[in-house]
């Protein structure tokens, strides 16, 4: 299949079942809310090394937040419900509670819940105060600039992680431009994030290594410097650089929508080829085929 002048490989992205949460951070100003959100989503690119994947879903105006202050919506994903709970306590406690003027609210209505504020309240050293409004239990934890307000419970739900596209370009600059265009087009889809820096990852991996102590290693099939030495190379002629965009979402539809937008934008920006990372279908619970996503758009 061709989209503009880009070859779309007939393959699939292999995605995984994860658990996700939505965290609403508000603050006195949009800048402080963003500072907390950036801190909370730092070092959260891959569950392999970071125990969770997180990113900024959206910037929220005053009328879209519980306390009518500026805010940021953050999504956090981990491999199981317990993992989401632990990471939320760590990151809300260390990155949001510490940030001046912030408050932190649950942003998901879900049957499953994990205790976050109910854990962080102990920081209040018995000076914390519980409030219950419209069925929502909150904790007021005294801090040095006033109070940190945090929801007792946060909803979590099954999610989809590891949706991806691989963008192959003629050289580093052209590939970077195509990937940046794709990432820009993919941002802002409700319920999805791109957890890597700027939404783009260059160190794509395969789930194996020649070192016994390592579970993942460089994706040599797409490393241009290994074209001549790797028997697994997948690089067509004329490709000198590859970048990947990984998508996590609260549902499959959001991940698919992001992949569709990303492929269209990368193709418009001159990508040579677009493919996707998979492990033969043996690891992930979801196989997202590229061609069906583009039906009607391809030429």
């Amino acid at each position: 299949m061709r989209l503009h002048d880009t070859d779309i490989v007939d393959t699939f992205a292999e995605a995984f079942a994860m658990w996700g949460a939505r965290v609403l951070i508000t603050a006195e100003t949009a800048e402080w809310a963003m500072a907390a959100a950036q801190s909370m989503t730092g070092f959260a690119t891959s569950v392999i090394g970071c125990k969770c994947e997180a990113g900024i879903e959206a910037v929220l105006l005053e009328d879209a937040t519980p306390d009518h202050r500026p805010g940021v919506s953050v999504l956090l994903f981990s491999m199981n419900a317990e993992g989401v709970g632990k990471r939320l306590v760590e990151r809300v406690g260390q990155c949001v509670m510490t940030c001046p003027s912030t408050a932190c609210y649950n942003g998901l209505s879900a049957a499953e819940q994990v205790t976050v504020g109910g854990q962080l309240r102990y920081f209040g050293d018995k000076h914390q105060i519980a409030k219950l409004l419209e069925g929502r239990r909150m904790w007021r934890v005294p801090v040095m600039d006033g109070e940190f307000l945090v929801d007792d419970q946060f909803g979590i739900q099954p999610a989809v992680g590891g949706g991806n596209i691989l963008i192959l370009g003629r050289d580093e600059r052209a590939t970077l431009a195509a990937a940046a265009a794709a990432a820009a087009a993919m941002r802002g889809i409700p319920g999805t994030i791109l957890p890597f820096p700027g939404g783009v990852v260059r160190s794509g991996s395969k789930p194996a290594s020649r070192y016994k102590f390592l579970h993942a290693s460089t994706n040599d099939a797409y490393c241009p410097t290994l074209r001549a030495v790797s028997s697994e190379t997948q690089l067509p002629d004329g490709v000198g650089s590859v970048l990947e965009i990984v998508i996590d979402g609260l549902d499959l539809a959001g991940v698919e929508s992001a992949m569709r937008r990303g492929m269209q934008a990368a193709a418009e920006a001159g990508a040579v080829q677009i493919t996707a990372g998979n492990y033969g279908g043996g690891l992930g619970q979801y196989q997202i085929r590229l061609h069906p996503l583009l039906e009607g758009a391809a030429v």
Binding site: D67, H68, R69, I129, K131, L133, M138, G146, E147
Partner: protein, 276 residues
């Protein structure tokens, strides 16, 4: 179709009519509802002796007339809607556990005593002891919301343990007396001795008030949690202003004669200097 009750005979002495509640009337025909028992003074009577009833109970009940001598309306209510087109007497929604009561006129004393859930909205004024403990009981309101758009009398939230009481106008003396927890918001003026003997809980007012000597000023700040409460009250029809939403509040801690873990938050209106 909802059930509609119209007062035809004003009782000469207080009438206890806890049967006027969606839970008691749902599924009943008008004729069956008319045979429900009420207590007129110390005499049992039929509801139909005082009300003209039409419709069928479907979870919503409309009551029309001056019901200021009728007590216990909506008592023990667990679900449904009860709309009073007029004023009501004492003990409206006593020990209510769910549902919604709206009163277009005034309410007597003891609105929602010991209620545990649900919503009561009074468009007019309310009497004394809104959301309070009944005499001899340990705790007052234990959940739910009471909103009075007008004024309320003394001892609002007496012994309150949980929930929200909001008064659009002024309150009398001893607001939040003996409070155990929960939140009382008064947009108007507080009377004397606010928060006396409160253990925990929050009392908010938008006007300065002379605090008891057993309360200590802590700071002036913007309590974020209050923004959520005020936003909720605005949705319930109270005239919350942007200044109240965004304003700074003086925090007073007390009552030192008890646990000293209660708080009174007073909007900084600039009318009085900060205590420190």
């Amino acid at each position: 179709m909802s059930l509609e009750l119209t007062l035809t005979t004003t009782p000469t002495v207080p009438l206890e009519a806890d049967v006027i509640s969606p839970a008691r009337l749902t599924g009943l025909s008008a004729a069956a509802a008319a045979k429900l028992t009420v207590v007129h003074g110390n005499v049992r009577a039929d509801l139909g002796e005082f009300f003209k009833i039409k419709g069928t109970g479907n979870g919503e009940v409309h009551v029309t007339g001056d019901l200021s001598r009728i007590k216990m309306i909506g008592a023990g209510m667990t679900e449904g809607r009860l709309i009073v087109h007029g004023s009501v007497g004492m003990h409206l929604g006593a020990r209510m556990a769910g549902g919604e009561i709206r009163v277009e006129g005034n309410a007597g004393d003891w609105v929602g005593p010991e209620m545990t859930n649900g919503l009561i909205v009074i468009n007019g004024n309310a009497g004394h002891l809104v959301g309070s403990a009944l005499r001899g009981d340990a705790a007052g309101m234990q959940g739910g919301e009471i909103v009075v758009l007008g004024n309320a009398g003394n001892e609002v939230g007496s012994g309150m343990r949980r929930g929200l009481i909001a008064i659009g106008g002024n309150t009398g003396d001893f607001t939040g007396v003996g409070m155990l927890a929960g939140t009382v918001v008064v947009l108007g003026q507080l009377g004397w001795r606010t928060g006396a003997s409160m253990k925990r809980g929050t009392i908010v007012s938008m006007h300065p008030v002379e605090m008891l000597p057993t309360f200590t000023h802590a700071c002036r700040y913007r309590p974020v949690f209050l923004r959520l409460y005020l936003a909720r009250l605005r949705r319930l029809g109270l005239p919350v202003t942007p200044d109240q939403l965004d304003g700074e509040y003086h925090r007073w801690c007390g009552d030192a004669l008890e646990l000293n873990r209660g708080e009174v938050l007073l909007l900084d209106t600039g009318e009085t200097a900060a205590p420190h």
